[in-house]
């Protein structure tokens, strides 16, 4: 088993702190935006209650909005940026912006790390975050109410637990996904 060069474990936690703030902002914007709005409560939205009120007691603004209207929701735009940052961290963790900011601005002010960490678990966890917010983004584009704030809230919990408690939920998920046969290679004969 070859192990890649270690990284400062405070780097991923620094990045998780910024990510969790962004995700909390995205969740707030999602809650006040089109995702949770009832039809008729949205100012720019033309609503005719007589046509289908009998069929669906609750009318969500997002269901009748156009794809462009869904994509111009501020929460959607913020979440797309977060997803791109996740994607960057998965494809090229060494150049990802928060990691670079940590190395340039934060790490020189800290004592050297007591121990170095394997870079693979945080990278895997960024992939889990990417999957979660991407599901939210796609469901939002398809007009599913509440999908976006629920996805960003779930990702927020994971990022916050990593930042504040050093618990990497995405990494913990690895063994469960592997036991379910979703990741990892099949068992070798022993």
């Amino acid at each position: 088993m070859t192990t890649p060069a270690g990284i400062d474990p405070r780097g991923p936690r620094f990045a998780a702190t910024i990510t969790s703030v962004l995700l909390l902002i995205a969740t707030f914007l999602g809650l006040i935006g089109i995702s949770t709005a009832q039809a008729g409560s949205f100012g720019w939205f033309a609503y005719q209650p007589l046509s289908d009120a009998a069929f669906t007691p609750t009318n969500w603004a997002i269901q009748t909005a156009s794809v462009a209207q869904r994509a111009l929701d501020p929460a959607f735009l913020v979440t797309v940026v977060i997803a791109l940052l996740f994607l960057w961290s998965v494809l090229s963790p060494a150049t990802a912006p928060w990691g670079a900011m940590f190395r340039r601005a934060v790490r020189p002010r800290l004592a050297p790390p007591a121990e170095l960490e394997d870079p693979r678990p945080p990278r895997f966890a960024q992939g889990v975050g990417l999957v979660v917010v991407t599901v939210g983004i796609l469901l939002h584009l398809f007009g599913v109410p509440w999908a976006l704030p629920i996805a960003t809230a779930a990702a927020f919990v994971a990022a916050f637990l990593n930042a504040a408690f050093g618990l990497c939920l995405g990494c913990q998920l690895y063994l469960l996904l592997q036991r379910a046969g979703i990741v990892g290679r099949p068992a070798r004969a022993s």
Partner: protein, 136 residues
């Protein structure tokens, strides 16, 4: 939704996350019973201890396994008859199922007959681990 209601929900989310983190901290690394599990020596790549073996389950995607590895190997170096054995579950879902491991790191305290005398999910508390070793 009004901004006030959204702020309440966001605040609740923050409080729930803190509570989840506190619960995780409280449950992590506590000594638990080993049930009736037995550790099969053929699943270890190195020799078991004469008296006690600390079996650590790890994966490649495990942030806290290296610190447990250092802690357990230091313990094994300090005590005669105590060995530290690591089992990599990255490609062995069968072993994870057999030993009922749901998270890494998980540590078993195994006696010379192979019986699992205690288990620790997460990073073991030092005192609890020493007590579990002494109790074998």
């Amino acid at each position: 939704m009004s901004p006030t209601a959204a702020l309440w929900i966001a605040g609740t989310l923050l409080v729930v996350s803190v509570a989840a983190g506190v619960v995780f901290r409280l449950l992590d690394g506590r000594r638990r019973g080993g049930g009736h599990l037995r550790f099969d020596p053929q699943h270890a790549t190195t020799a078991l201890g004469e008296r006690v073996t600390l079996v650590q389950f790890s994966t490649e995607m495990c942030t806290r396994c290296p610190q447990v590895r250092r802690m357990l190997s230091a313990l094994a170096a300090d005590h005669d008859g105590l060995a530290h054995v690591e089992v990599d579950l990255t490609h062995r879902a069968d072993l994870a199922a057999r030993y009922r491991v749901l998270q890494t790191p998980t540590t078993f305290v195994v006696d010379r007959s192979g019986a699992v005398r205690a288990r620790f999910n997460g990073v073991p508390h030092r005192h609890a681990l020493s007590e579990a070793i002494a109790a074998v």
